[in-house]
Amino acid sequence: MTSTDTHAGTTTGATGNAAPSAVVPTRGARFTGAAANYIDERTSISGLVKEVGRKIFPDHWSFMLGEVALYSFVVILLSGTFLTFFFEASMVPVEYDGSYVPLKGIEMSAAMASSLDISFDIRGGLLMRQVHHWAALLFVASIGLHMLRVFFTGAYRKPREINWLIGFVLFILAMAEGFTGYSLPDDLLSGNGLRIIDGMVKGIPVAGTWVSYLLFGGEFPGTEIISRLYVLHILILPAILVAALGVHLLLLIINKHTQFAGPGKTNDNVVGAPIMPVFAAKAGGFFFIVFGVIVLIAATVTINPIWNYGPYDPSPVSAGTQPDWYIGFADGALRLVPPGLEFVIFGFTVSMNILIPLVGLGLFIAVVAFYPFIEAWMTGDKREHHIADRPRNAPTRTAIGAAGVTFYAVLWAAASSDLIATHFYVSIESVIHTLQALLFIAPVVAYQVTKRVCLALQKKDREIALHGFESGRIVRLPGGEYIEVHEQLDDYERWKLVSYNEYKPLMIRPDANGKISVLQRVRGGLSTWFFEDRISPVTSTDIERSHDSSH
């Protein structure tokens, strides 16, 4: 079965059929052939090459976001391996005796001292530390953007719901990797981060005190936490991450990539470049570009200057401290809790000021994780969807996404509440109060605005698909009437505007027993919310009608 072919009949010759038959192979070709034969006779790899070698990948800039995540992860693995050769994950106190003069003679953990040695006594050590840190920041950021791309184009729909869930797990793992790694140098800044984690864990009802005690191997900070985080950071978490990443990519290959609607592209085909050679060259080249850009940033921009913070000490702290960006939303949630939310019941202390952010954020990310399943249940659509939606063509989904992004953004801004206050000369109280209000108001506003903008864009698309666009050319008809000539779209352009799925709200009907179940009511309500305001795609009848009614 041949499943691939060039779509334009004239170009079949251009795809490299210049196979000379009678020519005697060169020595190089003979060697390659023998080597290939040797490997294939032992691995049967020709089957794999045949299957995936010409697999098609559709092209769109937004499809690169996941690639950025993948490549920055490879950079993290490479630079991280280098760092493990020099890092000493131990909290044994030592007297610093390295090259950084201001800290000479100061007592610190071996972890901090070895981090300083990596920075100041090993050539390229600081570069690799900064490559590792910048790549980590980029890793989490690109996963986040990749998830937003998948969300806003509906690429999580059947058959990709499970892969969305795996991707979500990867996002959580990436943040866990980030936090454990950030804590390893045992500097003042990260130590305060661990102190906050300790305080939050202690705020968990019933088990919190013990969880903290076991985690830190005694009282905070103890002498164990760095080596334990190290094992998590370089062994367990990466192992799970690599496994989940493997499944993620495997499912990507099994499901094949989504593509945007376009002329010739259907739900039953994939249109794009084959892995060999174009996609391999582009993606392979892109890996080197991502790597190169990370190294360029690391060579020129300092990140996490632990030597300025000094070793961890529970007493000092610097003002205006910030966690790495991806922890910001959690830190912001802690900051926005109003005062007084802690009480004692039957002698037990319940810290709602910690539980509310924990549970709130837990619910938020649970909605993110399970959104595809909720939407699939609501639409009841069992078809496979391989055409990515333009965000405007799913107005309610896009609006929900915008509300979620806004909610996250407010929490994120709250993590910098003190810096906002000092940079804009406003009081910290007013910043907090404003953000508290925005946390609830801004997502609603974002939702409404986004939904209206989407519907307006859809209307515009419909208008253009039906009547073309104004050419600006005014013509006087023989009867004296002036009209503006509308330029019609060609079929290819129009197709991009009209090919999308349409849904309608569920009509609630009684079941066989004459009853309407609660679930059906919920589904009816949800689907009305989603699809009551909708713009139908242009049909051929619409076009005929518009031609009839036009001049």
Partner: protein
């Protein structure tokens, strides 16, 4: 499966074999046998017809051999630049060593090494992408999708495998074996959970959290030097970061410090509001409060002299030192615990006792 050359499809993915047959948009022959529910999806008979692929447009490098040659040169120049970059990186490693104590040398080493590696990487990356975009075939290729679901025959085979497995093992039939196996499997991980008990020492953490190093008569000393403080050293409006005497020699220095760190401030006694039962806890306007935030435990290190407010830099809880360090803003609930202090015969500040309540973040058993 049929080739999709100029394939025509309706938006819901049903392929029509020939564009000409569907001009009216009605009689669409459905190729797929399986019919799946579109749920709330609307399917219309008169959806527009996919116009098929637009004609391919050749690039300049396809039509102009000079442009093609030029692109070829550019790609190889980029690869040569990469080679130069990698060589430069090695040269930089040797030519810009780190001189102990010289920060400029660290910076130059990082920068030059980094720039060399960057050139080595970007040369390959940009070269390869340029090669792909300008010289490799840009004709888009079509591949058919097949439903993700296995074919009915495959699924029947898979079911048969399970049925045979069940039959040959008796998994379904021999319920005693099955249920006892499930029970055994559920219990096996439990020893692994128990094993983790010794992550922490044997003793109960709760009493540890309720006591600090402070005792009756412990001198208040400066953080971090450990020199004692006389009451007369502290002027009105000043704040001292304080640790208990002997902390620097303590075996568990950081653990003790994480609980025992204290801030001492002197206020004008006229500004100080004091409950009668705490009237003896201060000395001539000098008060001592735990430095560990009652929210999640950051050091409450910022003292505002004019307002007598303490601010936690982590989550901006604010405490009013003039009024028992009560919370006046932010997520913390409880006031900072006060350390009762006095002055010994030599004029040094000493603690009257330990804190009378646990310091630091709240925990479940705190009030027990």
């Amino acid at each position: 499966m049929a080739q999709h050359d100029d394939g025509v499809a309706t938006p819901d993915g049903v392929t029509a074999p020939d564009a000409n047959d569907t001009a009216a948009g009605s009689a669409i022959a459905k190729v797929e046998a399986r019919e799946v529910s579109p749920g709330l999806g609307v399917t219309r008979p008169d959806t527009l017809v996919n116009p098929g692929f637009p004609p391919h447009r050749a690039r300049l490098t396809d039509t102009d051999p000079r442009k093609e040659k030029r692109a070829e040169r550019q790609v190889s120049i980029l690869f040569f630049l990469s080679i130069i970059g990698s060589v430069l990186a090695v040269a930089a490693y040797i030519a810009f060593p780190i001189e102990p104590g010289n920060m400029t040398s660290v910076r130059m080493n990082t920068l030059m090494l980094g720039l060399g590696i960057t050139l080595g990487l970007l040369g390959i990356g940009i070269g390869a992408v340029h090669w792909a975009k300008a010289l490799m075939s840009d004709v888009e290729i079509v591949e058919s999708r097949h439903g993700t679901r296995g074919s009915d025959a495959t699924r029947a085979k898979a079911l048969e495998v399970f049925a045979l497995g069940n039959k040959e093992s008796g998994f379904g039939r021999r319920s005693l074996i099955r249920n006892s196996l499930i029970g055994a499997l559920v219990l096996t991980p439990i020893p692994a959970v128990v094993l983790f008990r010794d992550l922490a020492p044997a003793e109960d953490p709760v009493p540890l959290l309720k006591h600090t190093m402070w005792e009756k008569g412990t001198r208040l000393t400066r953080d971090p030097s450990g020199t004692p403080i006389r009451a007369s050293d502290i002027t009105i409006g000043s704040a001292f970061h304080v640790i208990p005497d002997g902390l620097n020699d303590s075996e568990h220095k950081l653990e003790e410090k994480a609980k025992a760190a204290v801030l001492v401030m002197r206020l004008d006694p006229a500004d100080l509001v004091e409950r009668p039962e705490r009237a003896e806890w201060s000395y001539d306007g000098i008060v001592a409060y735990s430095k560990i935030c009652t929210h999640v435990g950051c050091p409450v290190a910022l003292y505002e002299q004019q307002t007598h407010h303490l601010l936690c830099p982590c989550h901006q809880s604010q405490f009013d030192v003039a009024n028992h360090a009560e919370v006046i803003f932010g997520p913390a609930k409880r006031a900072l615990p006060q350390l009762p202090i006095a002055v010994d015969s030599e004029g040094y500040l000493i603690a009257q006792s330990d804190f009378l309540e646990p310091v630091g973040p709240s925990f479940w058993e705190r009030e027990l």
